[in-house]
């Protein structure tokens, strides 16, 4: 469950997690709009916010949190998301589905990625 390597791309827009032979690449935008922070997720599913306009977001820095997570600091100032190994794995496994749901959600609310 713990990735061996966490690699931030040169343009700071892609995060690659390496689990042995499997690799997972996630965009900063994807990670930002799915931040596990209470600012995004709220305290219940009903409070979940749809974050829009993050196409250009990038990751400024990465912090280890204890043994169980990383904190991502985005260049839009968002720095409260603690991504546990488990959550990262969930994001990776459900990447396409989560992304489709997000795009649908944006359309429904008349929002966009820019």
């Amino acid at each position: 469950m713990i990735p061996e390597n966490i690699i931030l791309s040169e343009n700071k827009k892609e995060l690659t997690l390496e689990y042995g032979a499997t690799k997972s690449v996630m965009s900063a935008e994807f990670l930002r709009v799915n931040s596990p922070s209470a600012e995004v997720k709220g305290h219940s599913p009903a409070q979940k916010k749809t974050v829009s306009g993050k196409r250009a977001v990038s990751i400024n820095s990465i912090e280890l949190v204890g043994n169980y997570a990383i904190k991502l600091i985005f260049d839009d100032g968002h720095a409260t998301g603690i991504y546990t190994w488990q959550y990262l794995k969930e994001l990776f496994n459900g990447k396409d589905k989560i992304w489709k749901e997000y795009i649908t959600e944006l359309r429904k609310k008349g929002l966009n990625r820019d």
Partner: protein
């Protein structure tokens, strides 16, 4: 369009043979030239002039409506960096941090912590003990010492040295009877201070005596320091085991290995008739360890000696070395250090930033 591009580059070469080398990117679209130039951050003034000059010169090329020159500087871009855990200066030279926890209060965490710390020291390791129970610090009483900690030259707090253990507790800083009437954020900053501002120095082990529960202190510890593992203390009583289970779940959530469960107050042997009574139930913690698939580290009987030594500020492991309890603590220390050695290979990701 490509002609305009070629012309533009030639023009730049005419202006100054060095200019073409500065081109990062040049795009021509809809009669517009977009040019980006590498610049040196320290020579902003010079480059601002160059920018104007180039814009004017390129604008006269046939078929060009406008020119847009942008200056880019790489040292200017926000440098992404991997921030090492804020695990802060104070504990940076500590090899292993283990916490002694329980869900419930009053099961003997602090007594276990101090005896375990001394037992680990007797195995030949350098050991510190951090009393993270901010509301009810017990360590000063257990070691019979209330001296105020001194400051190092660097302005850091020096731990109290007693029984060959480096100790820190909020109890050394406030009078014994004065309560800490604090809200969460104060507690968090006190814990951070005991981690960051105390000069722990080089230690093989730092034992952390946790307060009961699964709250601010536990979460702060779990986030601020990479912990090697946790030892759960419980009595065999169901009531205590329910909370111990919560403690175990919490550590699992934050990925801290459970080193095992210690059953405290397991039996009582009457000093007069030698009859054994299971005051808090029989082998409850052992069964729980089995259910939770974690190791059972040992049982500590309820003994008057243990209580007396604790109240007198001289831990039993030092004052009654031949007692059953002391031997048990040594055994537990052996299992704990062995398990930590096995677990420390557990991976930690490399953070690579290009």
């Amino acid at each position: 369009m490509s002609d305009i591009k070629t012309l533009a580059i030639e023009k730049l070469n005419e202006l100054n043979p060095e200019y073409p080398e500065l081109i990062e990117d040049i795009v021509v679209a809809n009669k517009k030239i977009y040019l980006s130039l590498k610049t040196d951050k320290s020579k902003v003034d010079k480059f601002t002039k160059i920018k104007l000059q180039i814009e004017n010169e390129l604008a006269v090329i046939d078929g060009v409506d406008s020119v847009s020159v942008s200056l880019t500087s790489h040292s200017d871009a926000i440098q992404a960096k991997a921030i090492p855990q804020e695990n802060a200066s104070g504990v940076s030279e500590v090899r292993n941090i283990i916490s002694v926890a329980s869900g419930k209060g009053g099961v003997g965490k602090s007594t276990t912590s101090i005896n375990l710390a001394i037992a680990i020291n007797q195995l030949g390791f350098s050991v510190g003990l951090l009393d993270a129970d901010v509301y009810g610090p017990s360590i000063p009483k257990l070691v019979g010492d209330r001296q105020k900690p001194k400051k190092s030259k660097a302005g850091k707090i020096l731990p109290i040295k007693k029984y060959n253990i480096s100790l820190m507790s909020i109890g050394f800083l406030v009078p014994e009877d004065s309560p800490m009437i604090w809200r969460g954020p104060m507690v968090i900053s006190a814990v951070n201070q005991m981690l960051n501002d105390v000069e722990w120095g080089k230690l093989d082990y730092l034992v952390v005596d946790m307060p009961p529960g699964t709250g601010d202190v536990q979460l702060t510890m779990a986030q601020r320091v990479p912990m090697s593992g946790a030892v759960i203390v419980s009595t065999p009583q169901d009531l205590a085991l329910i909370d111990a289970r919560k403690g175990i779940e919490m550590f699992k959530k934050v990925n801290i290995p459970i080193l095992g469960i210690i059953e405290n107050m397991s039996t009582f042997i009457c000093p007069n008739c030698k009859n054994e009574s299971h005051i808090f139930g029989f082998e409850g913690a052992k069964l729980e360890a089995n259910n939770q698939k974690v190791d059972f580290l040992g049982d500590i009987p309820l003994e008057i000696d243990l209580r007396e030594c604790s109240d007198n500020g001289k831990p039993i492991i030092l004052s009654k070395t031949d007692s059953v309890v002391s031997k048990k603590f040594l055994e537990i220390a052996k299992s704990v250090t062995k398990k930590v050695g096995d677990e420390s290979s557990s991976s930690k990701p490399n953070i690579i930033i290009n």
